[in-house]
Structure formats: structure tokens, C-alpha cells
């Protein structure tokens, strides 16, 4: 653990003799306006810790004070040891280390000892710039933290002794693997690739060689086979030759056969033809005799058929005559019967006419009666009343009755009484008066009474006069109608209606009965009666079913007889035709018979012909036998020819085979001659293959081992990193969550830098990831501070130094961060340098140092012992100002622009620019008058760094 107890700046830029005592643990706020020297203090502190006094680096030169040198001293508490380290650069370099209670060391000894003390205090070997890890100034990036090993090492110490794999070891393992395969692509490389390629080539060569070996072995087998085949060739040739000679001899014996065979063939053919002709003639002769006999039989049969046909014709003609007689009789009977039937029908019609005449006479009588009754009615019609008057009378009667029924008494009061339910509205109130109940009302009330269909508005005072008016109206109506009462009027109305109805009925009946009047009807009846008078002369015959049945039966019988007669006529005609055909056939057959008898008489005797045929057949058999012998001999000769041909082919084949085998043998022998040394080649290749396979196997084994090792180391590295960074990450997340006021997760890169944040989305249901570069400047600054706070809290090794921080943060977050810083300073040492002390008002316990006042007093103090600030000091201030202007501009500016913004002398600005350019702090773009200037890359990202 290191604490900065006191810092003394003997000389740096414009500062001289400045001495600051710092709270430890605790928070010290050093404030002052721009150019008060805050950044110079930080730069001096870094210089003291990290730069040997012999250095003349431009950073040292940039801090040179009025006398041209830099002097810084500080008292550190390193665990339990208090040391004071003083260094002077540029003029009379000095390194001095005073260890409390252990004396003083100078020069290199002091440097070495101080480094040892740092290491002992847990700041890690080689952590030459321990403040880097916690120093933060306005706009600093997270890379500072990422690059610092002090945080990583401290985290490793927390999680265990050197949790991560030594990078050198991992690099060596990867280098070892790279000896065998390309990184990432796993392609063989180096010796392994060479060995594999060599193995592939050798295997290919070995395959070729073994194929050659097999070819040689095959060639040897082929040669043996060829030798055996060549050895058997002479024997085969001799055998074939002998067979050829034998067949040639036999062939010679069979010469001259063709003519004999031809002759014999012709003789056989002639004999065969002669026999065939004779047999044909014999057959024809026999057929002739047979036909003659058949012809005679047919003539006899025809004669019998002729006789039979004639008898049949006679029978048919007799039947036909009888049939005609029966038919005539039946037709006569049918005629008579039909006449009787006609007379009966005529009488029946007359009877019907008579009945019609009677019906017409009755209709005439009824019509006359009806006409008389209508005339009687029309003579005395009934009296008729006015319907409207009757209706008015009826209404007046009803109102009178109702009024009387309701009003019982009219005096000082009115009693309303009814046999029915009455609705009474009295002064607007509806009341129901049930039957048998009375309602007594004062006569000055207005009452509306509803009784059935009648609704009356009653003024009891006028009830009597109203009744009288109603009675008078009834009387007037009765008089108008000429009746005594409403009932009489009603009876008169009903009587008139009945009269109208009866008259209408009588008139309709008469119109139906005699639509054209009674006279035409009467004429028709007269005519009917005259027609019916002939009935008396008609015979007493009536049509009957029996008569009908007899007529139908006789008609059917007549039709049957006519059909039979027709059929008999057809049969007669057919018999006539048959008879004529038979006669013709008989004549033709008789002619043929005569011709056959003549032909048969011209043929020789059948026995002679048979004997001749037998002679010819014997001769043919003899000739055929001879012919077969001859053809067999020729077939044998042809077979011999074929065999001779085959033998010649085989002999030729043997000769070819010999040549072929000889050629093959020569080729194989040449091949075998070429095989000399093949075994050596195969052996060499086998041995080489063996060696190469072993080598490839060994290299593959080494490759697998290297790969396994790299995999295992990387995996363990990963796990260790996860274990190591977890507490750091969680702490950063806790600080950020408190500062930002929402849940924050942090994703770190492999160098412990913050890669991105995960924060709730607007819906607050999920976390969204935002890369660090996409955050606002303020949030980036807060992330940076959270990392620094976490690192300080976890390591506790060095003070946290904030130079002009919180420039981008809003008030709320500033307050939160200051609160975090205050809490952190309870155990750690925190030093804040700021131009805005109001930002830290929340840190009530902080030690506050007004740098302007301190500088003044130190300058005053120095004034007695040191010369006043020279132009060099103000030049240095101007350089800072130029840097600041360029940092704020965001782009290059020319000299006049800078001078104008600073309101400074352009020549002085030009000098400051030259100094800064020579020191590599700014760079020039363009030449001469167009020259513009901007901060170098490093200073652009960190414009306030000193």
C-alpha cells in the first residue's frame, strides 16, 4: 500500500517551493483556476514515481522551471515505512531517498531501493507507474485502466496466487503448436507437413512398385503357362495333320456320285408321277361308279316325292272347298244377328225421348208457378224506413237510458248509481264506482262518467235539463219515422229485408229454369212428346248382353274361318311349286345318269388298273432305296469337307497361336529383364515408408499434445479470468447502479476494459446492450470513474487522483459520484484537483487546498530565496494555454486564430507553438502561411494530460 503524505515541488514550470500536505486516508481537494498548476502537480507526481532523474525526455523538459530544471520531492507511506523521495532533473540531476530510521540513499541505489519498497508494498514488480491505474483526468479513456497490470495483478492476488496463466508459457505452448499446424486453420505445417508430403509421395511410389511386383509375378505365371502351351503345340499339329490325311482319302472315294444321284432322283420322280396318275384315274373311275348308283337312288327318291306331293295337293284342295262353304254359312248368320241388334237399339232410343218429354213438361209447369208468385209479391211491397233516422233513434234511446241509469237523484246533491261498473272522473281524479254502490256528489262539481261506450261530462246542475233534451230528441225521431217505438221501427226494417230476399230467390229460380222464357221450353216439350209417340209402333225388342256376346262370338268364328281359308290357299300354291321343282330335278338327274353310264363304259377294267399300280410301286421302292444310299454317301462327303475345313482352320490357328505365344513370351521376358532391381526398390520404399510413418506418427503425437496443452491452458485461463474479474465487475456495477439510478450490468473485455453496458430498456422488461463508444460523454466519464473507484477499493494499493474530472456529469450524478468518492476515501486516499470546487461541496470531510493561495504563498516564500518568475515561466503558461485552445477547438487552427482566442501576442504564441511542435505535443498541417496546428494523437484523446 502506498500513501502520499506530502508533496513538495521545488521547481516545475511556474511553480516554485510549493508544498502540499495530503490527508491519508481521506479526501484532499486541491482547487484553483485554470493555469494555477493543477496539471503540473500531477505531472510532477508521475515524473517522481516513474522517471529517473537522469532523463531528459521531452516530458521532463516540458516541466522545466525558471532555472531550467525540475525538482520534486514527496513523502510516501509504504505500508509501515515512511520514505521521502526527492528528484531533480535537467540541472544537476539528483535522486535522494530518505528512509525513516534507516538513513539516506542516493542515485541509482535510491531508485532501486525505492522500487523494492514499492514491490514490498504490493504494487507489483514493474509497476513503474502505479498512479496510472487510478489517475483520471478530464476525458481520460478506459484504456488506461485496461493497460494497467496493477489492477489485474491485484485482482489475481485476491482470487489466488497468480490465477492467470503466465503469458509467456501460453505463448510458448502456442508457438509449439504452430510448429505443427497453422494457427486456427489446423493445417499441418513445418516438419509435419513435409513428413506427410514425403509419406504421401513415398506411398504413391510404393504402390507403383508393388504393382510392378505383382505384374512381374503375373508375368512369371504367364510365362509358365505360355511355355506349357508351346510345348503341346507340335503334338496338336501332328494329330490334326493325321486327321486331315484320313479325311482326304475318304473324300477321294466319294467323287462322281452327283450324276448318279441326279439320275436316280429323276427316275424316282417319274415313277412317283406315274403311280399318282394311275391312282388318280382309279379313284376317278371308282367315284364315277359310285355316282351312278347314287344318281339312280336319287331318281327313285324323286319319283316317291312326286307322288307324295300330288296326294298332298289333292288333300289341300278338298280342305279348301269345305272351308269356303262353312265361311259362307257363318257370314249369313252374323248378318241376321246384327240386324236384330240394330232394331233393339232403335227402340231403346225412342224410350229415352219419351222420358225427356215428360221432364220438360214438368219444368214448364214449375216455371209458370214461379212467375205467378213473383207477380203476387210485386203487387204488395212492404213499408220502408230511413236507416239513418232509425240509427239516431237508437243512439238517443241508449243515451237516455244510460243517463237515467246513472243519475239517481238531482237536488242539492247528485247520487250516481249504476248496475254496472262506472268510471267517474271528479275534478280530474279517476274513481271507479262498483255496481250497487252509490256516490253522492255536490251538484257544483263537474263529473265525467264513463259507462260502457258512453262517456258524458256532467254538470249535476244541468242534469235534469239534459234528460229532458234527450227525451225530446227521442220523441222527435219516433215522429219522423212514423212509429211508436224503437222496436216497431226495427220490425219494419226486418220485414222489408225478408221481402227483398224472397223476391230475389224466386226470380233466380225462374231464370235458372227458363232462361229464355217459358215459351221456348214449352215448344221443346211439345216436340219431344211428338217424337216419343213413335214408340208405340216399335217392336218389343230390347238390346241385351247375350245378343252382344253372340254377335262377337260369330264375328270371331267368321274371322277364323277366313284365316284358315287363306292359309289353305297358300299351302296349295306351295305344293304346286314343290311339285314343279321335283319334276325339273327328276329330269336333270335322268340326264346326268345317262352321261355317267356312257363315261363308265369308256374306262378299262378296275382290276387291270390296280395290277399296273402295284407294279409301278415296287419299281419305285427299289429306286428309292438306291437313291438313299447315294444321298448318304454324298452327305458323308460333305461332312468330310466340313471337317477338313475345320482342320485347316485349326492348323492355321495353331500356327497363329504359336506366333502369338512366341511374341507374348518375348514381351514377358523383356518385362522380367526390366524387373531387375525391383526388389531393392520395394525394400527401400518399405524401409522408407516405415521410417516416415514413424516420423509422422511421432509428429502427429506431438501436434496432438501441443494442441491439447493449448486447449487446456486456454480453458483454464478463461475460467481463471472469470473468477478473477467477477468481484471487480460486480463492484463497478454496484457503483454505476448507484450513480445512474438504474440497474446496470457491465461487460468487460479481456484487458478489464469496459466493453459495453447492459441497462433496462424503455419497457424495463429486458436489458439492452450499449457499446461504450455509443454512450454519452458524461456516462463514459461516470463509467471511467466507477472503474477507478472499484480498482482503488479492491486494490487499496495507491491513492486515487482525479484531475479535473466530472466535467461532463450532470448535477445529480456528480453528487452521487462525490458521495461514492467520499465513502471510498474512508479507507483509501483520494486526491482531487479541480477548477470547480463547488462540485465537491458534498464532500464535507474533505481537506481543501486553494492552490492559488498556496502558489502565492509559496511564490512569496520563494521570492526571498529564488529569482522572480522569468519569461520562461510565462511562456510555459502560454504553451499550456495553446494546448488547451487546440484541445477545445476540435480541429486545426492557424497561428492568428490561436493568438486571437488567447488574446495574446502573436509572436509569443508563435514561440509557444514552436516549442510545443518541437516537443512533439502538437503537429503542423500545411506550410508557411497556410500552416495550421493540432494536438498530436495522444494529446487529442487526452488533451489535458500533462
Amino acid at each position: 500500500m502506498m500513501r502520499l503524505v506530502r508533496l513538495r515541488i521545488g521547481e516545475a514550470r511556474h511553480l516554485r517551493g510549493l508544498e502540499l500536505t495530503l490527508r491519508s486516508p481521506g479526501l484532499t481537494i486541491i482547487h484553483g483556476p485554470n493555469e494555477a498548476g493543477k496539471s503540473t502537480i500531477v505531472a510532477c507526481l508521475r515524473l517522481l514515481l516513474a522517471t529517473p532523474s537522469t532523463s531528459r525526455h521531452r516530458e521532463v523538459q516540458a516541466l522545466a522551471g525558471p532555472s531550467g530544471g525540475v525538482e520534486v520531492g514527496a513523502v510516501f507511506a509504504l505500508d509501515d515505512t515512511t520514505v521521502e523521495l526527492t528528484k531533480r532533473w535537467l540541472t544537476r540531476p539528483l535522486t535522494q531517498l530518505v528512509i525513516a530510521g534507516a538513513g539516506q540513499l542516493d542515485g541509482r541505489e535510491a531508485e532501486t531501493r525505492f522500487a523494492e519498497l514499492l514491490t514490498t508494498a504490493g504494487l507489483g514488480e514493474g509497476a513503474g507507474d502505479p498512479l496510472v491505474s487510478t489517475l483520471i483526468d478530464n476525458g481520460a479513456g478506459t484504456t488506461h485502466l485496461a493497460a494497467s497490470r496493477i489492477v489485474a495483478e491485484a485482482l489475481e492476488r485476491r482470487s489466488g496466487e497468480e490465477a492467470l496463466v503466465d503469458p509467456g508459457l501460453l505463448a510458448r505452448a502456442r508457438t509449439e503448436l504452430a510448429r505443427y499446424e497453422t494457427p486456427g486453420r489446423s493445417q499441418p505445417t513445418g516438419d509435419l507437413r513435409q513428413a506427410r508430403d514425403e509419406l504421401d509421395r513415398t506411398e504413391a511410389a510404393y504402390l507403383v512398385a508393388t504393382a510392378d511386383v505383382n505384374a512381374v509375378a503375373e508375368a512369371r505365371r504367364d510365362l509358365e503357362t505360355i511355355a506349357e502351351q508351346l510345348a503341346t503345340l507340335p503334338d496338336d499339329e501332328a494329330r490334326l495333320k493325321a486327321e486331315q490325311d484320313e479325311r482326304l482319302r475318304r473324300r477321294a472315294e466319294l467323287e462322281g456320285l452327283d450324276v448318279e444321284v441326279e439320275r436316280s432322283s429323276r427316275r424316282v420322280a417319274d415313277l412317283s408321277d406315274a403311280i399318282a396318275r394311275e391312282l388318280e384315274a382309279l379313284e376317278r373311275q371308282r367315284e364315277l361308279a359310285s355316282a351312278l348308283a347314287r344318281s339312280r337312288e336319287r331318281i327313285e327318291q324323286l319319283d316317291r316325292d312326286l307322288e307324295e306331293r300330288r296326294e298332298q295337293l289333292t288333300r289341300v284342295q278338298a280342305q279348301l272347298g269345305a272351308s269356303h262353304d262353312g265361311l259362307d254359312q257363318a257370314r249369313r248368320e252374323l248378318g241376321e244377328l246384327r240386324e236384330t241388334q240394330a232394331r233393339a237399339r232403335e227402340r231403346e232410343a225412342l224410350a229415352s225421348v219419351a222420358a225427356g218429354a215428360e221432364r220438360l213438361s214438368a219444368q214448364v209447369a214449375r216455371a209458370v208457378e214461379l212467375r205467378n208468385r213473383v207477380a203476387a209479391l210485386e203487387i204488395a211491397p212492404p213499408r220502408r224506413l230511413d236507416d239513418a233516422l232509425v240509427a239516431s233513434l237508437q243512439e238517443a234511446e241508449a243515451r237516455l237510458l244510460a243517463t237515467r241509469t246513472v243519475f239517481e237523484t238531482v237536488g242539492p246533491s247528485l247520487t250516481i248509481r249504476s248496475e254496472r261498473s262506472v268510471e267517474v272522473v271528479v275534478n280530474g281524479d279517476l274513481q271507479r264506482l262498483e255496481p250497487a254502490h252509490a256516490m253522492v256528489r255536490p251538484i257544483d262539481e263537474r263529473i265525467i262518467v264513463s259507462l260502457g261506450d258512453v262517456t258524458m261530462e256532467i254538470s249535476p246542475g244541468s242534469a235534469v235539463s239534459e234528460l229532458e233534451e234527450l227525451a225530446a230528441e227521442r220523441t222527435r225521431l219516433l215522429a219522423s219515422l212514423g212509429v211508436a217505438s224503437l222496436d216497431e221501427a226495427r220490425a219494419l226494417l226486418e220485414k222489408a229485408a225478408q221481402y227483398d230476399h224472397e223476391l230475389d230467390q224466386l226470380r233466380r229460380e225462374l231464370a235458372n229454369l227458363a232462361p229464355d222464357g217459358i215459351e221456348p221450353l214449352d215448344d221443346e216439350a211439345t216436340r219431344a212428346r211428338a217424337a216419343a209417340s213413335r214408340l208405340d209402333d216399335a217392336p218389343e225388342l230390347a238390346p241385351s248382353d247375350e245378343l252382344e256376346r253372340r254377335v262377337r262370338a260369330l264375328s270371331d268364328h267368321v274371322e277364323a274361318l277366313e284365316a284358315a281359308a287363306e292359309e289353305a290357299q297358300v299351302a296349295e300354291r306351295r305344293y304346286h311349286e314343290d311339285l314343279e321343282q321335283l319334276v325339273g330335278a327328276r329330269e336333270r338327274e335322268a340326264l346326268q345318269l345317262e352321261q355317267a353310264e356312257r363315261d363308265l363304259a369308256a374306262e378299262p377294267a378296275e382290276s387291270d388298273r390296280v395290277a399296273r399300280i402295284e407294279d409301278l410301286e415296287r419299281e419305285l421302292e427299289t429306286e428309292r432305296h438306291r437313291h438313299r444310299e447315294l444321298t448318304d454317301a454324298i452327305e458323308t462327303r460333305n461332312h468330310l469337307d466340313e471337317e477338313l475345313e475345320v482342320l485347316a482352320t485349326e492348323l492355321g490357328g495353331l500356327s497363329n497361336r504359336r506366333a502369338e505365344l512366341t511374341t507374348q513370351r518375348r514381351l514377358l521376358e523383356e518385362r522380367l529383364e526390366r524387373a531387375t532391381g525391383l526388389a531393392d526398390r520395394v525394400v527401400n520404399l518399405e524401409e522408407r515408408l516405415e521410417g516416415l510413418r514413424r516420423r509422422v506418427a511421432v509428429l502427429e503425437g506431438q501436434r496432438a499434445a501441443a494442441r491439447r496443452l493449448v486447449e487446456v491452458l486456454e480453458e483454464e485461463q478463461r475460467r481463471a479470468r472469470e473468477r478473477t474479474e467477477a468481484p471487480y465487475r460486480q463492484l463497478v456495477e454496484r457503483i454505476l447502479t448507484a450513480t445512474l439510478g438504474e440497474r446496470v450490468e457491465v461487460i468487460l473485455d479481456e484487458h478489464l476494459g469496459v466493453e459495453s453496458l447492459r441497462r433496462p430498456t424503455s419497457s424495463r422488461t429486458a436489458l439492452a446492450t450499449t457499446p461504450i463508444a455509443a454512450l454519452s460523454a458524461g456516462t463514459r466519464e461516470q463509467v471511467e470513474l466507477a472503474c477507478r473507484f472499484a480498482a482503488t477499493q479492491l486494490t487499496g494499493a495507491v491513492p486515487i487522483v482525479l484531475d479535473d474530472a466530472l466535467g461532463y456529469s450532470d448535477t445529480t450524478r456528480t453528487r452521487m459520484l462525490v458521495a461514492q468518492l467520499t465513502a471510498l476515501a474512508t479507507d483509501a486516499q483520494a486526491i482531487v484537483l479541480t477548477a470547480h470546487p463547488e462540485r465537491y461541496l458534498g464532500a464535507s470531510d474533505a481537506e481543501r487546498i486553494d492552490l492559488a493561495r498556496s502558489t502565492e504563498s509559496s511564490s512569496d516564500t520563494a521570492r526571498g530565496t529564488s529569482p522572480p518568475p522569468t519569461g520562461a515561466a510565462s511562456e510555459a503558461s502560454l504553451e499550456d494555454a495553446v494546448r488547451s485552445v487546440l484541445g477545445d477547438a476540435g480541429g486545426p487552427l492557424n497561428r492568428n486564430d490561436i493568438a486571437s482566442r488567447l488574446d495574446a501576442d502573436p509572436d509569443a504564441v508563435a514561440r509557444a507553438i514552436r516549442t510545443l511542435r518541437d516537443a512533439g505535443v502538437i503537429e503542423q498541417i500545411g506550410q508557411r502561411r497556410g500552416a495550421r496546428y493540432r494536438l498530436c494523437e495522444r494529446d487529442r484523446t487526452d488533451p489535458h494530460a500533462t
Binding site: 489475481e156 489466488g160 496466487e161 497468480e162 490465477a163 492467470l164 496463466v165 503466465d166 509467456g168 508459457l169 510458448r172 505452448a173 509449439e176 511386383v213 512381374v216 509375378a217 508375368a219 512369371r220 505365371r221 510365362l223 509358365e224 511355355a227 514377358l668 521376358e669 522380367l672 529383364e673 524387373a675 531387375t676 532391381g677 525391383l678 526388389a679 531393392d680 520395394v682 525394400v683 518399405e686 524401409e687 516405415e690 521410417g691 503425437g701 506431438q702 496432438a704 499434445a705 501441443a706 491439447r708 496443452l709 487446456v712 491452458l713 480453458e715 483454464e716 485461463q717 475460467r719 481463471a720
Partner: protein, 375 residues
């Protein structure tokens, strides 16, 4: 010279001139092949000095019929420089197939090739009858035909010993008769009936006798494989018709193929084995196959192969089998290699993994750690 006295022959076989030597270094291979011819020359010189009447090579004088011409000529040159007859039987490796070496026209006069089964008088008093192989894989061993033919020839003349020279296996393995199997019963019958007096066999590379020494495998004159039992000898056989053969073994070979099996339990054991490898006699003609088992402390196990291979550098060939050597784990071991944290965890993971790849990775890790420490 008339031999009514005992006949001395030198029986050898399986010179296998030109054979491969797969497990040796390239330089050793060349020497090995060269030495096979040298050994033959020494053998022939020894035969002459002992006054043998002939040398019988019972098959496989050459390893292949397609050797390079210089190897053939070198071997034939050695033979041509001798005075005594050398009777060679074509075996399966140098069978009398077309264009076989033993069928060449330019063979030295001293070289008598047994190319038929007819008895042949090599010197008066000695008849040799051969069973030559005419192809590498015949239908059956040619000795079947030779023994059958012997019955038609009848016994040799009085005072003459007859030697049957054959190539193949005397004992049947698993009762299976192959093209290599000799007609053992028939040969014994021929011996018993006096048709033959001695059977000189080849093909089996180790010395072995049967039937009371009347049937013998001489074995190869120079070792060819690790599984051969006591190779590197030739047989001086004294023959008389009425006496059983008298066999004397003559040392010819110089090469050794040693198979060693050792158990190690400490670095001292490893050092002792390394010391033995360093002090082996004539290491340039020695091939060693070393099989180790046991358990070693990890540090010793990690350097085992390195140490032993260094000790065997002078050998003609060295094969090391350490698959069965386990390492003894120790909790303090990672610290011994100055490994901490994740590297130590990785070390222990590999240590606990018996997979050979992991074990090799462990050795690599140890080596890299040591290299890092040295820096």
C-alpha cells in the same frame, strides 16, 4: 579323392540376401545388407578351412528374384571366389520361376542349383537330392514329389550318403497343411528305409533338429527378425551311411535384435537401463526393442524417452514402448515446475487424464515450464 570316410558338409539356409531392415536407421540398413553377404563369405571361408566337401544352402539364398544387379553380382562374386561346391536349393523367396536368379546362365561353376528331384553326386560318396520350389506359392511343398520319386531311385550306392535338401515347415500348425508344409512322415520313412541319410532344411530361421538329429534346420546365418531363437549359426554335419549325423554349430552372424522387457520404479532404474544401452557390445550391429512398465516419479517419467533415446543413439535401431509406464502424481509437483494458478490447474488436469495425448501434453507443459524457468 575317394570318400569312403565320413563326409563333412556345411548346412546353411535363408541367407535372404537383399532383405529389408525396416526398424533400423538408414545407415544401419545399408550396413545390415552388406553384412549379410560378408557373413556368407565368412561361412564359406570357414567351410574351406574345415575341409568340408560342400556347402548346402537349403533355400532362400536370395530374398527376391528381382534384386539389383550389384547385389546379385556381389553375392555371386563371393561364391565364385570359393573352391568348394556350393549346392543351392531354390526356396520360396528365390523360386525357380522364369528369370529367377538361380536360373541365370552366368552363375559361377561352383554353384550347383538343385533344379530337379533327381539325385546328384556332388562329390564321390555324397549324393544330394533336392526339392526345388518353382514358384512362390506352389500347390504343395515340392518335397512331396521328391520323396515319392526317391522310391523309384532306390537307396544310394553302398558307401554313399544321400542328403535330402528341402525348404518348408516341418511341423504343422493347428493341424493345417499349407503349401509350405513338408511331408514329415514320408521323410522319416525314407530315412528309416535308408533312401536318405540326412535332411538339410531351410525356411525356419532358428536352429532346430528333429528325428535324432537326422533332420535339421540350420537357421539363418545372420539374424533377420526379433522373434528368431538363437540365429546366426551354420551347421557342420559329419555324415556316414551307418551312423547318425554328427552336428556341430559354427558361429557366423554378428548382428543382434534384442527384445528387452524391464520394470522401472525410479529414476535410478531408468539410469541403469540407459547405462546398459550405452555399454552394449557392437551397438552399430544391434537393434533393441525395449518394453518398459512400472511407475515413475513424474519428473523421471517426463524425461524417460529423452534419456533412453539419447542412450540408444549408437544402436543400429531402437524401439521404445513406454505405454505401460505410469507416472506417480505428487501434489507439490506443479510447484516444482514453478506453475501456479490456472497453469497449475491445467497441469493437474492433464496429470489426472490417462489419455496418452494428455500425458504427452503434460510432458510438453513440463518442458515449456522448465524452459521458462531457465530463462
Amino acid at each position: 579323392m575317394t570318400y569312403h570316410e565320413p563326409v563333412l558338409i556345411i548346412h546353411t539356409s535363408d541367407w535372404q540376401i537383399g532383405m529389408p531392415a525396416r526398424t533400423m536407421t538408414e545407415e544401419a540398413r545399408h550396413r545390415f545388407r552388406h553384412d549379410r553377404v560378408d557373413a556368407a563369405e565368412r561361412l564359406l571361408a570357414e567351410a574351406s578351412s574345415r575341409g568340408a566337401c560342400c556347402v548346402i544352402v537349403a533355400g532362400d539364398l536370395f530374398d527376391d528374384n528381382t534384386l539389383s544387379e550389384d547385389q546379385i553380382q556381389r553375392t555371386l562374386g563371393v561364391i565364385a571366389r570359393q573352391q568348394l561346391p556350393i549346392v543351392a536349393l531354390p526356396g520360396n523367396h528365390d523360386a525357380l520361376e522364369p528369370h529367377a536368379i538361380l536360373a541365370r546362365d552366368d552363375l559361377p561353376d561352383q554353384l550347383i542349383v538343385l533344379d530337379s528331384w533327381e539325385p546328384r553326386t556332388v562329390v564321390p560318396g555324397l549324393e544330394v537330392v533336392g526339392a526345388p520350389w518353382r514358384s512362390r506359392i506352389p500347390g504343395r511343398n515340392p518335397a512331396w514329389d521328391t520323396v515319392r520319386a526317391l522310391e523309384s531311385y532306390g537307396p544310394p550306392p553302398a558307401g554313399t550318403v544321400r542328403v535330402l535338401v528341402a525348404h518348408g515347415q516341418w511341423e504343422r500348425y493347428d493341424s493345417v497343411t499349407t503349401h509350405s508344409t513338408l511331408p514329415a512322415d514320408e521323410i522319416v520313412a525314407a530315412l528309416d528305409t535308408g533312401l536318405i541319410h540326412y535332411v538339410a532344411l531351410g525356411d525356419h530361421h532358428s536352429y532346430q533338429i528333429f528325428v535324432g538329429g537326422r533332420v535339421a534346420f540350420s537357421g539363418t546365418h545372420e539374424v533377420t527378425a526379433a522373434d528368431e531363437r538363437d540365429p546366426g549359426w551354420a551347421l557342420a554335419v559329419t555324415l556316414e551311411p551307418s551312423h547318425p549325423p554328427a552336428i556341430e554349430r559354427i558361429r557366423v552372424g554378428r548382428w543382434r535384435i534384442l527384445t528387452l522387457a524391464e520394470t522401472v520404479t525410479s529414476a535410478d532404474d531408468v539410469a541403469a537401463i540407459a547405462g546398459r544401452l550405452r555399454t552394449l557390445e557392437d551397438p552399430a550391429r544391434c537393434v533393441v526393442r525395449l518394453h518398459l512398465d512400472g511407475t515413475l516419479p513424474l519428473a523421471a517419467r517426463l524425461t524417460l524417452e529423452q534419456n533412453l533415446e539419447a542412450a540408444a543413439a549408437a544402436l543400429a535401431g531402437f524401439e521404445l514402448d513406454v505405454e505401460r509406464v505410469a507416472s506417480l502424481s505428487d501434489a507439490s509437483i506443479p510447484a516444482d515446475f514453478h506453475l501456479r494458478g490456472a497453469a497449475a490447474t491445467a497441469f493437474e488436469r492433464l496429470l489426472d487424464d490417462p489419455d496418452p495425448v494428455s500425458q504427452a501434453a503434460l510432458r510438453l507443459l513440463a518442458r515449456l515450464a522448465l524452459e521458462g524457468n531457465e530463462r
